[in-house]
Structure formats: C-alpha cells, structure tokens
C-alpha cells in the first residue's frame, strides 16, 4: 500500500495506490522522473535566484546576475544532470520491464498524449507571461515583478531554462494525475 498522508482512497488523493493494483512501468517512470525534474528545478532556482533561505540555499524571485562563463557552466551542468537522471531512470525501468509482460498499451499512449498537451499549455502560457512581463516592464520603465529583470543575458537564460524544466515537471505531474484518474 502506497498512501502518503494516510488520506485513503478518494479522487483527490493521487498518492493512493491499492495494493492489488501496482503501478505500471510508465507510471513508475513518471514518479521517479518527477522527483528528478523537481531536483533539477531546485538546482536551477538555487543557481539563478535568491531571496528565500531553503535547506541552506537561497532561492526566490530575485535573479542573481552571473558572468557568461558561469552561465555556460550552469547550462551544461543542467543538461548533464538531466541526461544522467533520465538515463538512469529509463535504464532501471527497462531492466524491470524485461521481467514483466506487456510494457505499455493504448491507455499509456493516451495518458502520454494528455500529459504532452498539459506541458504544451504550460509552455504556451509561460511564454505569454514572459512576453507580457518584458513588454509591460519596457512600457512602464521597471520590471512588473520586482527583481525579475528579463532584459539581461542572465534573465533571458533563466526564463527559458525555467520554462523548459517547468514543462518537464508539468508533464510528469500530468502523467501521474491521469494515471490516478483513468
């Protein structure tokens, strides 16, 4: 039984998994991948932002300006972290799937499509928010959200990476949500 918080079976408790219905490989992958991408998002926020102290690190809405060399280093670290995390998880899942019967079917494909749609909408909305923020900031002379200056190289790099990593987090969360509901 997997039941975080002990809420039991109800439609709002996506963590509840009856013991007779174990997770499919794709759902298991989604959980581990979500954890990995939340970690990568935490790393991104830790490197780019400041404002609130959390677990010995500073992150928040205030972007910390960085040198080009450091930005490149952070970017490469993110790519390497994402490749390693996804490779390890996919490898482990493939090894586990080899011991199982059918790996995935039409329901998994349908859920993957819904999750892709959710991440598409996240990207579309986030990009529109960024464009509005930049245009409105230029029109009014100062950033709409204090400290979120997207006109610098650091600001642009952060905004784009945040949307990319955020889209992955939304995708995995949508996968899990849909597995719980259908």
């Amino acid at each position: 039984m997997f039941d975080i918080g002990g809420l039991g079976p109800n439609m709002y408790n996506i963590f509840y998994t009856p013991s007779r219905m174990n997770m499919s490989n794709d759902e298991r992958y989604a959980w581990w991948s979500l954890v990995a991408w939340i970690g990568i998002m935490f790393f991104l926020l830790m490197r780019f932002t400041t404002g609130v102290e959390l677990l010995g690190n500073s992150l928040g809405l205030q972007i910390v300006e960085q040198s080009a060399a450091r930005l490149l280093g952070i970017y490469l670290s993110l790519i390497i972290a994402a490749i390693i995390a996804e490779s390890v998880i996919a490898g482990a899942m493939a090894a586990y799937a080899a011991t199982q019967g059918v790996e995935s079917d039409e329901r998994d494909a349908m859920i993957a499509k819904r999750a892709s749609l959710a991440s598409y909408w996240f990207v579309a909305i986030a990009l529109n928010v960024i464009v509005f923020h930049v245009l409105a900031s230029a029109a009014f002379g100062s950033p709409l959200i204090s400290g979120l200056n997207l006109t610098s190289t650091t600001g642009i790099a952060f905004a784009i990476l945040f949307v990319l990593v955020g889209a992955e987090v939304v995708n995995r969360a949508a996968l899990i949500w849909n597995y719980r509901r259908s």
Binding site: M21, N22, M23, S24, E27, G101, V102, E103, S104, D105, E106, R107, D108, R181, S182
Partner: protein, 70 residues
C-alpha cells in the same frame, strides 16, 4: 445540436471470474497491461474499439455480451 455523454459498461470481471482468469492473464491474452484491464473493469477507462473486440474474442463471446452502452 447537443451531444449527451454516454457510459460504456462491461461484464469483464464477471466473465473473467467465471473462467478463473486473473487480470494479468486476460491482459496477456489481449496484449494490454494488467493496470489497463483493472481500469476497464472499474469503468474508469473506455478502451478503443480494437481492444474491446480483442477482449470479446478472448472470452469467445459476441461483442454485445461483454459491452453495453447507455
């Protein structure tokens, strides 16, 4: 024009128990995962026409004996 949402019901659990098949066994016969069979039995997921036909064929009965639409 208005469209009413229908409900696809099935007798999979009943027919599966009659044959002493587990969800995994039926899943293997129709090329689906056990989780999908479970979701179909609980009527949380309506399968494609192809999978619905494969399930009927696995039981060796007609389509309408397994599936109903209301």
């Amino acid at each position: 024009m208005t469209t009413r949402k229908g409900k696809v019901s099935n007798r999979i659990r009943e027919m599966r128990t009659e044959r002493h098949w587990s969800q995994g066994e039926l899943a293997e016969r129709v090329g689906a995962t056990r989780q999908t069979i479970n979701a179909i039995e609980q009527e949380k997921y309506a399968p494609s026409l192809e999978l619905a036909f494969r399930i009927s064929l696995a039981f060796g009965v007609g389509f309408e004996e397994v599936w109903t639409f209301s």
